[in-house]
Amino acid sequence: AQSVSQHNHHVILSEAASLELGCNYSYGGTVNLFWYVQYPGQHLQLLLKYFSGDPLVKGIKGFEAEFIKSKFSFNLRKPSVQWSDTAEYFCAVKTGGGFKTIFGAGTRLFVKA
């Protein structure tokens, strides 16, 4: 069965620190990859997505993610975090032939001002 693993459940950073959140998935075929974010008191929303082409994708608010097919990974990065990045981040995978999107357990990021 397909699955998504997020390596860190809780991350605490100071403002201006760099961020990298790990995500690995288990599926050997074509995948569409996503990072969703849930800010406090808000609903889940898309941060960025990968479908094909350039494996380095850029999203909103300065976030980017790199798809490494050989490692089944789709790690999220941001060079310099802000207090407003405090949120929960979910990695998600949709297989090419299916309809469902599978989510990881999420990573709670807290950025200290």
Partner: protein
Amino acid sequence: DAGVTQSPTHLIKTRGQQVTLRCSPKSGHDTVSWYQQALGQGPQFIFQYYEEEERQRGNFPDRFSGHQFPNYSSELNVNALLLGDSALYLCASSLVSANTGELFFGEGSRLTVL
């Protein structure tokens, strides 16, 4: 812009009861997916509806059923509630023809089973 709306936002039931949750998709969307999010977990896929048919189902028992109406809105029904059904139930809508896979989520319905 009418986003995804869900009702009710909170509800409390007792074991053995039945519950119905409702979802109106984002304007223009034709597909509705339902997810269960337990505390500290990521959303778990329950099922997806398109053209009023269940298109795919996750690993949930038959106590979980759904429906999609001609106006694309959807209901999630859970029968014979168990304590373990306590969770946030999320509705997500999408547009098949957009082929982006992007899901638009509602705020969720928080169900507590006592």
